[in-house]
Symmetry: C2
């Protein structure tokens, strides 16, 4: 299977191991990986069903797809408790960089010194362990987006975005203070959630975006109603994210107009909110809106967005003794103009290599580094890169008990070493090309089911004709031994690990076509 | 040292090991634990200082106390990179249940099957691993507060509280809907952060409380201004938490009046917010306000608070076709009365055994189980227990990529086994008595520096005369080899691990008295 592609990727890298003489399947390049999926039972199978019932007595368990045997899962293959073996192109919602049970990660765990890292979780803001700066340097900073030298670790994606927002608010207020000290009134009022200590600042987000589920970032999430329903939300600015027509080359003009329309909205929202005193301290955006349906926007859109965030004029009345909303003491007017809001690029799902670069926004060639780049998922640790001007000015402002976890960075360190050693970003590019070529081909041959094919690296997706058809395709793929996932209203997203090779793409495409042949048109 | 106390706690438990024949210090009961602290350099020492500078090039590092050698730290002793050995009664902001490098936890890491749990992090809401319900049962559910059978795991304390709030909002809105289905208008409006889909609901919190640092829970945190300054906040109800006069027996009447005053405020806030349509869906409270200064309240206060949350009358206009703020379709009035808001007990710092029970609120003998009990820190995993009526009605509402982490529950499982096997809760009670007796004694002999001694189990604190004096005591304790921590404006909190034994309390008290003798009075 796909043997003709083998040579292209046969390098000296240790990913490609010599096969045992008695290997039955020659396409097995990761030691122990099966040659392909095998499905024995309906999914979920009887054992999974029983376990789902058990779990359901303890917590809501109706979202569980199946129970997994993590001892048997290997590489790109997830094995369920009923013995079904599936090629996993969803990888725990895009969060496994090297697939299952990668031997190099197992070795990290087998080292007795490392084992202690997993049981002595420090409060990193107070008592970091020996070697921590070096570990940050060899892992996170070694793959930092260009221009970034500062990194802060957190536990998860939501927390990373929440703290990036907080750092942006502090930075914005500091600019507004213009060097004036923090007042007693600010200190006392913030304790009761009111001005001037609590600010009326806002973060702009985009329709279709997803930035997490805690209440602050949930206010910037606009992907699916079920995530937000019944939860109080902050009334912050929301602009439109481009929705392109495909194929891109055919609709170049329409899509450019779409960019302009969305950017105009951004400027309008800036003006509307800044004029009302609800200053926009930051703009948060994903390089590709993943959860919201794999919505892509052009490099030009992102470049122009950055220009807008940097140039946006803000007028405020502010001095130690002004009468602005932050200070009610004697009248002393000082009109100031300062530019700019923070650009927060959320790479929680796009980061870590799946687009063929460590960071998806590197494809956009932004004129300047983004102010914040947040991450989690494939990076194993949450956190964010930020420019030096966003460092907190006082202690305990960007802080929590754990501030991430050294054991995650220890694993990430090895992941990055393997990515570099095994040239996994090149493999992602090659596998991505194969996936995209295959999907484009399908979209021509099955245009009723495969529309709007789009992708960068292996970060690919297409639209089906309806949510129901999409769900049917996901379900039928599972029957054929492919674990995929939906996103947005009618998209199917492909999110393999970085060890997904071109021949895995062949397996996927072969099964996919079998499914497409069986799907009825409307 | 403290050998006379030894027999009381010499049981057959494996915590108490046979000392090697050549053991130099007889007080060493945990294998490898030193006999006492030893300080060689100023703290931070030269190596720590160098590392702090290094870290400071990467991130704000001015909060770091010293760099720690986690390979050498053992039991109750933290060892820094300069070789200083400190008795740790702060334990990574109260988050280490069994101290450093507990041999039973190391064994968990050495088991090859367990090692895989640390490198295959699942999306627990979709693909839990084999044995996950059993693991939840043997760990979290085996120590669940009475009446609780439901548990949801999360990554950290903030996230646990955020999700408890969300579950409370959904429950409240469901009650308000009275069985009516979710409308299309709700689904579309919530995507833009507006009513009726986004609710105007609120969570009541208490002055001095701490419930985390993400923007939702930060709105319920009122411990220190620096945590909240410049961050937008939700204008939610805030009531006063009792502030008692000590000694309690002397001020019984005043303190009862304080309870009544605070409870009256709770009722007033309920009325004020419910009348304005900003319904109070939940009340969040710590059994002891830890970060805010170790503020205790009586069992009667908590009992009455629960009665209020259960009885609070709520009138609303609601039906499928009413004209309430949630629905603007034709006029059809239906006045409903329903009782109750959710009581969310935040045991992030108090939970896990330090009070001599698994859950501090078990000391209060509440008439009914709390609606939510949230946890993190010593429980290693975040999460919450909740009554069955708070289960989400649909999937993906209480959800995120990881939903906690099996490796944390694996470690917790062992921690709980050790707590039970070694009777650690009895040891906490005994050590707590020793600590409290000692602190009370100090408060009589050094009344200018040790005031308002209070505690449950080893969860103890006292006030100093000022923030400066408190900081001076913390600093001088460190010079004597004791790592403690401040809280609130002028309190010092003691937060040892569960393996802190009465003779450790003796060591602490001996060093503490030496410090007190040196502190000048104003």
């Amino acid at each position: 299977m796909a043997l003709s592609r083998l040579n292209t990727f046969t390098t000296k890298s240790s990913l490609f191991r010599q096969l045992p003489q008695n290997a039955k399947c020659l396409s097995n390049l990761i030691l122990g990986e099966p040659s392909g999926p095998s499905v024995k039972t309906p999914i979920p199978g009887p054992k999974s069903k029983e376990m789902i019932s058990e779990l359901n007595t303890i917590q809501f368990a109706n979202t569980v797809i199946y129970f997994t045997d993590y001892n048997k899962s290997i590489g790109n293959y997830i094995v369920d408790v009923d013995g079904n073996v599936l090629l996993d192109v969803y990888t725990q919602i895009s969060s496994l960089p090297l697939g299952y049970n990668h031997p190099d990660l197992l070795k990290v765990l087998q080292d007795p010194d490392n084992q202690r890292t997993f049981i002595n979780r420090p409060s990193l803001g107070l008592f970091p362990g020996q070697g921590w700066p070096q570990k940050l340097t060899s892992s996170l900073l070694s793959v930092a987006p260009k221009g970034h030298s500062q990194v802060t670790t957190m536990a998860c994606g939501s927390c990373s975005n929440e703290n990036a927002f907080k750092a942006a608010f502090m930075w914005y207020r500091n600019k507004q203070r213009g060097g004036a000290p923090i007042t007693e009134e600010e200190n006392t009022s913030c304790m009761m959630n009111v001005a001037p200590g609590s600010t009326p600042f806002t973060i702009m987000s985009f329709k279709g975006g997803f930035h997490g589920r805690t209440i602050g970032v949930l206010s910037t999430t606009h992907s699916k109603a079920i995530h937000k329903l019944d939860i109080p939300a902050l009334d912050w600015p929301i602009a439109s994210f481009p929705r392109y027509k495909y194929p891109l080359e055919e609709f170049a003009e329409e899509n450019k107009a779409e960019d302009r329309k969305c950017l105009a909205e951004v400027e309008e929202e800036f003006e509307r909110f800044n004029k009302s005193g609800r200053y926009v301290a930051g703009v948060v955006i994903e390089p590709v809106q993943a959860e919201g349906g794999d919505n892509h926007a052009s490099p030009e859109f992102f470049q122009e967005l950055q220009r807008i965030t940097k140039k946006v004029p803000v007028f405020w009345f502010c001095s130690k003794n002004c009468n602005c909303r932050f200070n009610s003491v004697p009248f002393f007017l000082k009109k100031k103009k300062q530019n700019g809001a923070a650009l927060i690029i959320d790479e929680v799902q796009t980061g870590g290599g799946a687009t063929g670069k460590y960071w998806c926004h590197e494809h956009f060639h932004l004129p300047e580094p983004a102010d914040f780049v947040t991450f989690s998922k494939k990076m194993l640790t949450g956190g964010y890169y930020s420019l030096p001007e966003f460092r907190p000015q006082q202690g305990y402002r960007i802080f929590n008990t754990w501030m991430g976890e050294p054991s995650k960075v220890l694993l990430l360190d090895k992941v990055i070493e393997v990515i570099k050693r095994d040239n996994l970003l090149s493999i992602v590019q090659a596998s991505g090309k194969k996936l995209m070529d295959g999907l484009m081909d399908m979209s021509k041959r099955y245009p009723q089911h495969v529309k709007n094919v789009r992708g960068i690296g292996t970060f690919c997706a297409f639209d089906s004709s309806s949510a129901e058809k999409r769900d049917e395709i996901v379900a039928k793929l599972k029957e054929k031994g492919i674990q995929s996932g939906g996103c947005g209203d009618l998209s199917l997203r492909i999110r393999p690990a970085l060890v997904f090779q071109p021949y895995h793409a062949d397996i996927f495409l072969e099964k996919f076509e079998k499914v497409l042949k069986k799907i009825k048109t409307v």
